[in-house]
Symmetry: C2
Subunit: 350 residues, 2 copies
DNA sequence: TTGTAAGCGTTATCAG
DNA sequence: CTGATAACGCTTACAA
């Protein structure tokens, strides 16, 4: 008895049996006293009170592992993102966490850094840790997702921004968004509109690029490969791409940038070359991150509801976890984007 | 036997017993075959091979909960930050995750939003989920941390940026940093140096403020309360504070801002009022986030090694988890900061 | 209202 | 080299 109390290195973690012994009741009674729902009935109030007190006195903390093992649910969800440092995903994650934690779920965050290997590794460990659900945001669309393992282990899956998988998803109409921002420039009279894109393996980037192309087509503008540059989604990429574009024989009068960080880089490059925005050339961003309206000129961009993407995705997952019908099929929620016109875009010079 | 295979809702998750039955061996043998270290010995290679194959055929995934329950370790660490959207913490978290995942640990991320209640709730659930260790970054220094629960449950704790707790920690010398950036301005000849601070309950912000004060003292400059403004760490705060400062009867010629986002806001405010930086007034930031060198003028700021803070903290935690001596006391690592002089600071106008 | 005991899926100990 | 079996800490029928 007393031997149980000290074993190994000093103190032992206190278990439900310790509480039971100390309170002079059975473990079942302790369990009942502590379980939230059977709060008032199924147990005598005084007993309950007594157990609560001894439990507190001993500093008892129930072991969720044991509970989860028994109940076959962990109350944990896994969240996989390409890069948490990307403001887009930061917003999404915040949204997810807020609704998940509200519903009593913990969140395991995984960064893939866009490496397929890391994605696979994370999927593996998430299954092993028996998370109740997984939220997969973004990532290379070329590496197909294998959701079979998850269904095998009753793990619900919701994806953000992928189209290639048969599970609930929340998406942006990135094609329309890319078209809209390009059309904004075309509508202002620009005829040479360049694009600073992101990595080609991302579905999001491909869609925005396609939107750009279709808008060009719709406005009867030629599609020139030399006007399309690839970037790495950071400021430096935008800086270099814009620098190159500005030294072309016939430079573009408009630059569509596929995220705000690259747009800020582009703005800096143009500034450094004495090319005024928007008088000489217009620049647009994408995402509408917090600093977009604090750079000068204020950035014309496309606002995307990152936080809402997160909350929506989490709600989709929660409803799947509740076993609600129709949550297994490919329920798709498409969230709206909006062109936000500020000061970095204007008609081209005469 | 066969009954075991389908119960409840369609398929059951496959367990080690299923593999054992299918392979015609005992569960112990399966366990041995799958355990990494006893790879080649203690078991006949053919047996091992056979088990591996049936395991793969059945799509078996070991249940980490059961393992954790038995071994008293989860291979999970909890990470608590005030706000993951803050670039500072994003960097820290990336650092943590990289070394943690390398060492085979998963990470549970918790956002407190600087609300003490949420912090408490998270600490509670982290103990219950029996994470092996907890990393606590930032947060209100006024609400003391109760580490006792953790030691009771053998949970190692490492803090980032707090001084009030007896466990390993990694810190920045924020006092020195605040003093250094202020001294930079003072050295340039500025005599009216304003401060745009952050929330007063953060230790980091208090230290930087103290550094500002001491630098003023060291340079024999008066400390004027009217020159100190509080912000919320976002662009808008900086914008408004700088706007107010610029309309004072005797406006400051230098503005020290306690993070880069507020500095960008300040730059915008000054720009909008036609006050040129750095000719009329100098502005400095703090943190050196990615866009700091892409705003114009480029921001003079203090670079802090966020990523390294994260890796260092994680390593501290890992060594504590390995039970290395001396990792329980208050081992403190102080990381260096550096004033990065760019274009937003210059001597005051004559 | 309370207690007893089975079992969740592993690993480790101890025999064979 | 392999097989029983006892834990790990908890919840939940079922009995008392």
């Amino acid at each position: 008895m007393a031997e149980r109390s000290r074993r190994r290195q000093g103190q032992r973690t206190v278990s439900i049996r310790d509480v039971a012994e100390a309170a002079g009741v059975s473990v079942a009674t302790v369990s009942r006293a502590l379980s939230a729902d059977s709060a008032s009935f199924q147990i005598r109030p005084e007993t309950r009170q007594h157990v609560l007190e001894t439990s507190a006195a001993l500093g008892y903390r129930p072991n969720d592992l044991a509970r989860a093992l028994l109940q076959q649910r962990t109350s944990v969800i896994g969240v996989i993102v390409p890069d948490i440092a990307n403001p887009f995903y930061t917003g999404v994650v915040r949204g997810i966490e807020d609704v998940a934690s509200e519903a009593g779920y913990r969140m395991v965050l995984c960064n893939t850094d866009r490496e397929p290997d890391r994605l696979d590794k994370y999927l593996e460990t998430l299954v092993s840790s028996r998370v109740d659900g997984v939220l997969i945001a973004g990532g290379a669309a070329d590496t197909p997702l294998d959701v079979d393992v998850f269904t095998r282990y009753h793990t619900k899956v919701v994806v953000v921004g992928r189209h290639d998988v048969a599970c609930p998803s929340v998406q942006l109409d990135n094609v329309a968004a890319g078209a809209a921002i390009t059309a904004h420039l075309a509508g202002l009279g620009h005829r040479r509109i360049a694009l600073i894109a992101g990595p080609g393996d991302s579905r999001t980037m491909r869609d925005r690029l396609e939107g750009y192309r279709s808008a060009l087509r719709a406005h009867g503008l030629p599609q020139l490969d030399e006007l399309i540059r690839r970037g790495e989604l950071d400021e430096d990429s935008g800086y270099r791409a814009a620098g190159e574009l500005s030294t072309m024989d016939v430079p573009p009068t408009g630059i569509v940038t596929l995220n705000d960080r690259m747009a800020v880089g582009a703005l800096a490059a143009l500034h450094d070359r004495g090319i005024s925005v928007p008088q000489k050339v217009s620049v647009t961003g994408f995402d509408d991150v917090s600093f977009a309206s604090y750079v000068r000129p204020k950035l014309t961009t496309v606002s995307v509801p990152t936080y809402r993407i997160g909350t929506t995705a989490a709600e989709l997952l929660l409803s799947a976890l509740r076993g609600e019908p129709d949550s297994d099929g490919g329920k798709r929620v498409v969230l709206p984007t909006e062109v936000v016109i500020r000061d970095s875009s204007a008609p081209p010079p005469a």
